[in-house]
Subunit: 219 residues, 2 copies
């Protein structure tokens, strides 16, 4: 039985949510692997990338087929375009998780030191943004999506603080430079996850309202 157009849209949405859960799992695992220097867990994150990439390709293919065959307009068109954009952001969150996971190997080869930057706290902020953005997508709630945008500044501020305290750490204990630089990069990976969550929230608003609110625009 061939699904009708709106059933196909629902199926596409469900697939994107499945991918989002997978990506969220990878991101959480990458942080946990970093926190506990767990090589097995980091390897699992790296291994999951293949599947995430396959999901991205499949969602993209379905979305393009729908555009070509159904030629949707207005809110249906915006919905499919939003899915394509969110799909791309999800895959990039997966990339950031892999980047964090690969850092665990470097971490293991250097001697342990106290964390000067609360990486798990920074990550939990980014993850909260991501979770809210995806719930806003699932529920089609532009107002909820809007609440994500304010949270991004907080992550940026935490990241700027991380830069300052890591610089100070290195000045005081230069032998810790490799670990500190490693941590600086992880902090920036997390900041990018927050950026992707912001993009997703903007796509939800575009889908529901037709507004392009990027860069503070209102048209």
């Amino acid at each position: 039985m061939r699904l009708n157009f709106h059933q196909q849209l629902d199926a596409l949405k469900a697939q994107l949510m499945t991918m989002a859960h997978q990506v969220d799992r990878s991101f959480a695992d990458s942080i946990e692997a970093y926190r506990t220097a767990d090589l097995d867990l980091s390897q699992r994150v790296i291994g999951a990338e293949v599947q995430i990439n396959m999901m991205e390709r499949e969602i993209d293919r379905l979305a393009i087929d729908l555009l070509a065959l159904e030629q949707p307009t207005a809110i249906d068109l915006r919905f499919i375009l939003s899915i394509m954009r969110i799909n791309s952001d999800l895959e990039r969150v997966g990339d950031q998780s892999v980047s964090i996971a690969t850092r665990v190997h470097e971490l293991r080869s250097s001697r342990p030191f106290d964390f000067q930057v609360d990486i798990p706290l920074l990550a939990s902020h980014a993850r909260e943004m991501f979770t809210i953005a995806m719930r806003a997508f699932q529920e089609g709630d532009a107002e909820l999506a809007n609440s994500v945008l304010a949270l991004d500044d907080e992550v940026d501020t935490m990241n700027a603080d991380a830069f300052t305290s890591l610089s100070k750490l290195i000045a005081d204990q230069p032998e810790l430079a490799p670990q500190a630089m490693n941590m600086l990069i992880v902090a920036r990976n997390i900041e990018r996850v927050a950026d992707h969550a912001t993009n997703i929230a903007e796509d939800v608003i575009f889908w529901r309202r037709g507004d392009d609110i990027r860069h503070g625009g209102t048209h």
Copy 2:
């Protein structure tokens, strides 16, 4: 007089090329500003962002209108989708340039030191990739686009070397840590420009051949 569909596609393409030139200018300026610690030039890069963002919104709006009104299929559909993706990558190259330009201020407040990493060389590699990718787009040349993909590995290798030599620099001269970390971030900004050039090349191939070649796929 209303333009016909293919005239509108040509106009959209021309607008994207104009944006690409503007973005290329900003990237080149940001590197020059960093190299010479030129605050005026860095300010120009930061100021140009508003215009780049406006261009992005306008191109996106035109592309979505064309999708909705003309309901293109096959290569025309892929062309418009590619333009939307390239548009997004161009805007992000602009973001990287702004990020580099803002680093110039920090650079000025610290004492000068010899560059351990050849930032201009790294940047010229990334810029070459970007230039070839956009020429491939302009000429609709999938083979030329394909040649960009091989260049990305070189940039990644240079960037990994940068990480190593900056770690060593800090270990030897810890008082240079802030500048070295600054440079590490600039090197990563440049790496991301190269990543965007790769994305653009992949979009050209998708447009011309209908292949989704991301992540080594061939369907």
